[in-house]
Symmetry: C2
Subunit: 225 residues, 2 copies
Amino acid sequence: MVVPSPTLHRAVVEHMVRQAVYQRLGKPMPAMARSPNPLVVNVSARHCHLTPEAVEALFGKGHQLTVHKWLYQEGQFAAKETLTLIGPRSRVISNLRILGPCRNLNQVELSYTDGIALGFDLPLRISGDIKGTLGCMLMGPAGFFEMSEGVIRALRHVHMSPDDAKFYGVKGGDEMKLRVGGPCGVTLDHMLCRVDKSFKLEVHIDTDEGNACGLQASMPCELTK
Amino acid sequence: MVVPSPTLHRAVVEHMVRQAVYQRLGKPMPAMARSPNPLVVNVSARHCHLTPEAVEALFGKGHQLTVHKWLYQEGQFAAKETLTLIGPRSRVISNLRILGPCRNLNQVELSYTDGIALGFDLPLRISGDIKGTLGCMLMGPAGFFEMSEGVIRALRHVHMSPDDAKFYGVKGGDEMKLRVGGPCGVTLDHMLCRVDKSFKLEVHIDTDEGNACGLQASMPCELTK
């Protein structure tokens, strides 16, 4: 089956139009239009990353994740496969989405709202930094897989290329702020910068943060130091 | 049964200590210590307000709400009684807390996360302004009660006395900002001021907002224009 390439994100189209309009009018571009890339803000719903071994334990020998939907970052996708998570107090989250491709660690990213539903305090961690965190049991159609650690709330972060980092005057590991407009607007502090030449400019916030401000694609968003 | 009066909120104790320390040291007080009242920030979990008629329909003729826990605002309480809410798409929220005393309208306040779970878009409204909003069915031990309207996400707001309003230089209906510190700090815009001489200074945010910043009593909070 051929998976269609994703449609353009609204922020990408707006950025192209903004640049074209300023150019046509011959007016000096504001900072927002001068930025090398459009700012895309996406909400990461709860999900997990798995190793190939975990995928085999859960879905059967030789199983490979299949693409449900391509994500904004090149090569990343939401898989068709979902899981059941059994927390440390035997409470359950069903239909936990897996993101592909496989990684070299197993990690579950939940919101604090999910943590309360599961009945335990989630640690706030940079994605990948899971040492000493609580684990959980995962259940798939072919079996169980026990994670000894790796259940976290991921620190809000922004993916960017070195070009973007130069434009904003930041480097990997720095923190920025994201201002979201609208009738229940917020400013999110401590937005961690993750810089890599493969990255497209994209902020990842979780569902608590997205719902706090009722994030919609039409809302003005601004990234500042 | 005698319901004990609530213990002092951490913010109240801190404010008293802060004022005493500055006075003892004979140093000029910073704005935070000069404020007439401590700033208390509380998360309102999902809840509803009911008329006496709705309480009777749900809990039986002549039933009166009983106090589970006194709230920070004088005379307000979380009732022992809870309800089941059946949404417009037949999805259910159990154990919905009722806040007392009874009011002259029926209103359910949910988070956007709850709205997504129920499968519909909640309108963002000032508490009390429910005209034209969606309704729901409520189920109690003695019967059902149909609300034709009144299911909302309540706009974040701050209760204050005229003294507090004078100190902050605002009036009822104005908007302020609440800055919350900590490792996932946020600033919440559009914090509606509600001024009444019976009000104690208290910010009400919902669980999405509280979980976005992982609000804890130890976190520094600041209210600004």
